[in-house]
């Protein structure tokens, strides 16, 4: 079952403060993603892999093309969705584990992980229990669950971010560099989480600079080539 189909995606940036320079980053990118599979984006640094992820999540707007996503049973073009539709899509269908956690002041890690489940109506105790189980599985001791992640190390923050991304079990999950600042033991947990998500039918698009991790989890590679012509 096709979960996401992007066709002819285009993205360029116009830098008005730099004299209106236009930079083309994506040109005619196509993706087809099915339930239960993991597609890894490959290509040199600067080719636009993270930009593509952000376009798929709606964090960047596309200049052209379509992104049809299976949302509530129907294919919806999220490249043309408005802000309210996009919020609903992100709540129910599309998850994103970014490279860095954007920290909300004073909110304990447990609640940061539980929040996407709470937004979907999961009762507080159940959401917290699942959040605690995931954090513990990612080797975050319970003594840290009640603390805001602002003072955590990069690896600890990334694990909070990963727990948050996997806890909500979105049908389509975007993952940007999930193991970049993790040790081997935690990277192995992430591999297991991805394999379990795939087995449960979740569809995943990922960027993995860690090639052994990519070998393990990716079913296919999608090569993104740098755009050389001007926009």
């Amino acid at each position: 079952m096709i979960m996401l189909q992007a066709q002819g995606l285009q993205k360029s940036f116009t830098l008005h403060l730099q004299g209106g320079i236009a930079m083309a980053v994506l040109r005619n990118v196509d993706i087809t993603l099915r339930a239960g599979e993991c597609v890894a984006l490959a290509g040199p640094s600067g080719a636009g892999k993270s930009t593509l992820m952000r376009c798929l999540y709606g964090n960047y707007g596309c200049d052209g093309g379509s992104i049809h996503l299976r949302h509530h049973g129907a294919m919806v073009d999220i490249a043309a969705a408005d802000a309210r539709q996009m919020r609903e899509v992100r709540r129910d269908t599309l998850g994103y584990v970014s490279q860095f956690l954007r920290v909300i002041p004073r909110v304990p890690s447990l609640d940061i992980v539980a929040e996407p489940m709470r937004a979907r109506g999961v009762p507080l105790e159940e959401a917290r229990a699942r959040a605690a189980a995931l954090l513990t599985r990612l080797n975050m001791p319970p003594s840290l669950h009640g603390l805001p992640p602002a003072t955590f190390s990069g690896g600890e923050q990334q694990r909070v971010n990963l727990a948050r991304g996997f806890a909500a079990a979105h049908p389509v999950l975007l993952i940007d560099e999930p193991t970049a600042s993790l040790d081997a033991a935690n990277a192995a947990v992430v591999i297991a989480l991805i394999e379990e998500a795939k087995a449960a039918g979740q569809a995943i698009i990922g960027i993995f600079h860690d090639l052994p991790v990519r070998e393990r989890v990716a079913d296919r590679l999608l090569h993104i080539e740098p755009v050389c012509e001007p926009a």
């Binding site: 940036f13 116009t14 830098l15 008005h16 403060l17 952000r54 709606g58 964090n59 960047y60 707007g61 802000a83 309210r84 996009m86 919020r87 909300i104 002041p105 004073r106 909110v107």
Partner: protein, 256 residues
Amino acid sequence: MSALLQAEGLDLRFGAVRALDGVAISIWPGEVVAIVGESGSGKSSLLRVLAGMQRADAGAVLYRDAAGATHSVLDASDAALRRLMRSDWGFVHQNARDALRMEVSAGGNVGERLMAAGDRHYGHIREVAAHWLERVEMDPARMDESPKNFSGGMQQRLQIARTLVTNPRLVFMDEPTGGLDVSVQARLLDLIRGLVADLGLAVLLVTHDIAAARLLAHRIVVMRHGQVVEEGLTDRVLDDPQHPYTQLLVSSVLAA
């Protein structure tokens, strides 16, 4: 589902200055919308027009109440607007002193709104007021004190308690953290974030603080020279700004 508040074609002139120039905006149930822009961009004028505190020269503002009836805010009588402000809306001013009654106790400031909404049982009013002081992280033991004794941050929390005690559906906020110390601002923003999420409030927030908008708002509306120059999902407007002015605004924020 439909919009709670929908405005179109709003024009407002102050002499030669076009404070609002063809502005359209809407807000939906449970949505937090931040209106950002520099001083003089028209954002506070827009908030005052939407809340019926200022008449526009042209345009329409429609509010849909809980029963599904539509009210034209620009045509409503003063009495009808007061009724809406008591029952359906709340307004949080930048300066808490504009909203609080300084000669009335903290608890009285909260209870007064309940009484205006029809509650007549003293014991109940006092109980609810104490509950709301706790919700805004104030010590209910201080409910009989005058707000004159309170710090700016505490006065602002008291104003928020006073506003939310009547369970409004739509809250207007005008620079709610302006003029406060940075550490107080952060706590207040976090308090507002928690309350808005728990209560499922719709909030129209005017701010020049981009970080506050990122923290609180689902959607951002960027204003300049009385016009909306860009709007959309908060993270998209801030991370992929399209309009030259939005790019300037975003690039001018100091990273802490």
